[in-house]
Symmetry: C2
Subunit: 227 residues, 2 copies
């Protein structure tokens, strides 16, 4: 089933097969408004076809949803795969990072889709998150072995925290942008996040011994205090 590698040519909607247009439409609708809002009719309208064709190609609505899921997994897989085995682990790691960041800024809907996947609590989301954390663990272990990182007492949990910080601009993008008045389309703001991340990891926030436990778990305010 080998396909010739395509060049990066501009693709116009009409060039795509109806099947691909349907998949894209479903992806966009699911990412923006969720699976429930992505009705067969809405998908068809967006793809410029009849609702029947959606079912003709994918069997059922669930078929479309599944196809989108594996398509996203494939896209993410392409980003993740190491292209040059000669590069060292640290270099490979950095390249993955860059590719992922480029992809999510080029296709902002990917972030929205991932957010939904995670927070829907579906099996898919759990698996994806687990793989991401596992990759983070491997990366941290390598860096420890190379002496780049100090050994952590709890590598897994620490790696999960690193993954969390790295994914946050993607997964919680709208929230961070709103709370911090940032715009992650702007390279400056993206660097602001990265710089703070670096600062946090290269210079202890609290002196050893004192442990205010860092995170403010303080939550929302009252909406209507009437007593």
């Amino acid at each position: 089933m080998g396909r010739a590698p395509e060049e990066a040519t501009p693709v116009r909607p009409d060039d795509l097969t109806a099947r691909a247009r349907i998949r894209n439409a479903a992806f966009a609708l699911i990412a923006q408004d969720g699976v429930d809002a992505a009705t067969v009719r809405a998908i068809a309208r967006r793809a410029g076809v009849s609702p029947s064709l959606v079912l003709h190609h994918f069997g059922s609505k669930q078929g479309v949803v599944d196809e989108v899921a594996t398509w996203v997994a494939d896209v993410l897989g392409d980003v993740t795969r190491d292209t040059d085995p000669r590069a060292g682990p640290a270099e490979a790691h950095r390249r993955r990072q860059l590719r992922f960041e480029r992809m999510t800024t080029e296709t902002p809907l990917l972030g929205a889709y991932l957010r939904r996947m995670l927070l829907d609590g579906t099996e898919n989301g759990l698996e994806w998150f687990t793989r991401a954390v596992d990759a983070s663990v491997a990366g941290l272990r390598q860096r420890e072995a190379l002496g780049i990182a100090r050994p952590s007492a709890d590598v897994h949990v620490t790696a999960a925290m690193l993954a969390l910080l790295g994914f946050a601009p993607v997964l919680l993008r709208p929230h961070l942008e709103h709370a911090l008045r940032l715009d992650f389309d702007d390279e400056d703001d993206r660097r602001r996040w990265r710089d703070a991340e670096t600062a946090l990891l290269t210079s202890a926030l609290y002196p050893r011994g004192t442990a205010p436990d860092g995170a403010s778990r303080a939550a929302g305010g009252r909406a209507a205090p009437d007593e």
Copy 2:
């Protein structure tokens, strides 16, 4: 509208007004399966009343959803409010933390509800997150002023990261439990997270100068590589 402070008496479902039972049922359903899955009929069934009564009390389904939202905000507000003004800022902060943690372990659905609130991208979720980050900023500023924390170049972003780390066990609880094989019902596992958090913040992970950018942004694996 003053109400006498109630004692902590066990409350049986039959003791609650139908209105309260409906609200609770809606809260649980929304938290577990989302707003769309929480149909008027499902809410009524769970509350042991007729669908008509739901609308009789709340006017419309949106009315129920709104009521649940402000109810959650109230509950969260009670947790957040400072009870003892004589306690110092650091102590107040720690108390808020403890209360929030107790509440979310007592009522696990709260976490699920917050997760969905963030996911939907509703105005509510954005506001709540912003308030949480603001509180975190204030806390960090105080700790800086008190000399507990080293000054951050970017207080806002740093505070957001702290908030993120603190909220993660609540917001991404199922994902972290799955990826790290933890059980946050277990006090030991909760401490494991807190300890790693403390370690990360009291001892620089990377030596100054080197900046591998920490987070592994590596994403999922391939599902069906057929080319």
